[in-house]
């Protein structure tokens, strides 16, 4: 599948991502999901293309940010669909790539009550 869109988190969102929810504070995972990730993901599905997400140039990715954005997206759409339309790039660290893919493949920490 062709890559038709690129999101550079450090430039398009923030170099210092926050926590899970908008009410937690600035640059939350929820804010990233609603403003950038989900709209781009929906377009990628309808246009049948991939998005490249550049993870470099950021101070760090708190687990609550990853879970609140990519984890939530995966939970709502399924990990296969998400990974079919999203590709990651990180020159800073291979480990970082693994963390995002792991979150998408397995967003749940426990079963829903």
């Amino acid at each position: 599948m062709e890559i038709n869109k690129k999101i550079v988190i450090a430039k398009d969102f923030s170099d210092s991502p926050g926590a899970r929810y908008v009410e937690d504070g600035e640059y939350s995972g929820e804010e990233f999901l609603n403003k950038i990730l989900e709209p781009a993901f929906k377009e990628a599905i309808s246009g049948d293309y991939k998005i490249l997400i550049d993870l470099d140039g950021v101070w760090g990715y708190p687990s609550s940010f990853i879970s609140g954005s990519f984890g939530k997206l995966s939970l709502e759409n399924g990990s296969d669909v998400v990974l079919r339309h999203i590709e990651f790039k990180s020159d800073d660290s291979e480990t970082r790539l693994g963390e995002f893919i792991k979150e998408i493949k397995n967003p749940r920490t426990r079963e829903k009550k």
């Binding site: 923030s14 170099d15 210092s16 991502p17 926050g18 926590a19 899970r20 009410e23 937690d24 504070g25 600035e26 640059y27 939350s28 140039g57 950021v58 101070w59 760090g60 990715y61 708190p62 687990s63 609550s64 940010f65 879970s67 609140g68 984890g71 939530k72 939970l75 020159d91 800073d92 660290s93 970082r96 967003p107 749940r108 920490t109 426990r110 079963e111 829903k112 009550k113």
Partner: protein, 354 residues
């Protein structure tokens, strides 16, 4: 002239007024009002009593280090809390201490600024006589948060003492704290790829500490707790220490105990907080927040993972009656309880770093 007929505006106002008057004569209304007035009156009385009360000289333990001498320091702070509860004021005497560590400065400043701790009382204090400790104390910026008249002053040492009044997760503060540490320990202040293994765990640990406070601070009101962050550059060891503190209720008191039998065991003392440490560190303990419960519980495991970094030294978590040394994977039950959560670690430049 306005007509006072059924359906007119005047009639509507009349009905509103009538309903209000009726409500005011109900016992429930009277009880609530008198209760409110009673609380206000009590508060004013307490302020007056505290104003007239003496300052009790409260001598700090010789080893005034929260990390090294946790039980004695907790005892000291619990005694101070008790003095305030008795409606007296506290004069924190730390003049003769032979050891003072930055983590204790953070604890002191957050305590004397907490209404829960001080109530309606006042506090004052002195600085250590020992020159090196005096320097540490005055350079902390402690005086900025106490009183301009107490002789404390803030120096331009590069240390960072931050009180988050918005009571939220603030990425810019985490970034600023990272820059302070990176600059001091590694001589660099930007997130260069060479320092990835340093700044990324540091930033993520700070952010998750803030998020944890936000989630566990209060049983009912998420985020209604002030946190403090003290970043101290140690001129002797050339390390930077990070002390993160909130005076909420502590992790274990905010824990959601799912099963009835667990509640009974906990209440009866058969199950102690220290028995829950492994579950806590593995993210298996629930906070009381219901939203997205199946997604939550990754923050503390991320902190635990980063605590093993070769760039971090002496990583501690103190909450309620439990002290956890994450670096050595040790834990101990404390004699005195701490109402809040405290995280402390040091950023070091290990031998392996070139």
């Amino acid at each position: 002239m306005k007509k006072f007929v059924k359906g007119s505006i005047a009639w509507t106002y009349f009905l509103i007024r009538k309903r209000y008057q009726e409500k005011r004569h109900k016992a429930r209304w009277k009880d609530r009002k008198s209760n409110k007035r009673g609380i206000k009156r009590q508060y004013i009385r307490d302020v007056e009593i505290h104003k007239a009360a003496p300052f009790i000289l409260h001598k700090a333990p010789n080893n005034f280090s929260f990390i090294d001498n946790t039980n004695e320091v907790l005892k000291y702070f619990n005694e101070a809390k008790e003095i305030f509860r008795r409606k007296e004021n506290v004069n924190f005497d730390i003049s003769d201490v032979s050891n003072l560590t930055p983590d204790t400065v953070a604890l002191l400043v957050s305590s004397v600024n907490s209404n829960k701790f001080v109530r309606t009382g006042s506090s004052k204090g002195n600085a250590p006589k020992k020159e090196s400790l005096r320097k540490l104390f005055t350079e902390s910026g402690f005086g900025e948060y106490i009183s301009k008249s107490n002789g404390f002053k803030k120096s331009q040492s590069g240390n960072l003492l931050h009180k988050e009044v918005a009571q939220k997760v603030v990425p810019t503060i985490a970034k600023e704290a990272c820059i302070v540490g990176l600059n001091y320990v590694f001589g660099q202040s930007s997130p260069s790829p060479k320092l990835y293994e340093v700044y990324s765990p540091l930033y993520e640990t700070l952010l998750e500490s803030m998020a944890n406070t936000h989630n566990h601070a209060d049983l009912n009101k998420q985020g209604e707790c002030r946190w403090w962050l003290y970043v101290y550059n140690d001129p002797v060891s050339k390390t930077t220490s990070f002390s993160f503190i909130d005076l909420g209720v502590g992790i274990f008191r905010s824990v959601y105990t799912k099963k009835y039998i667990e509640k009974i065991l906990k209440a009866s003392g058969l199950k102690k907080n220290i028995d829950l440490v492994d579950d806590l560190l593995a993210g298996k303990i629930n906070s009381r927040i219901e939203k997205d419960r199946e997604l939550r519980g990754k923050g503390i495991p991320q902190i635990v993972h980063h605590s093993k970094s070769p760039y971090f030294k002496s990583f501690y978590i103190i909450t309620n009656d439990v002290k956890i040394n994450l670096t050595k994977n040790e834990r101990e039950s404390l004699e005195f309880s701490f109402d809040g959560t405290f995280l402390h670690w040091e950023l070091i430049k290990p031998q392996i770093w070139k």
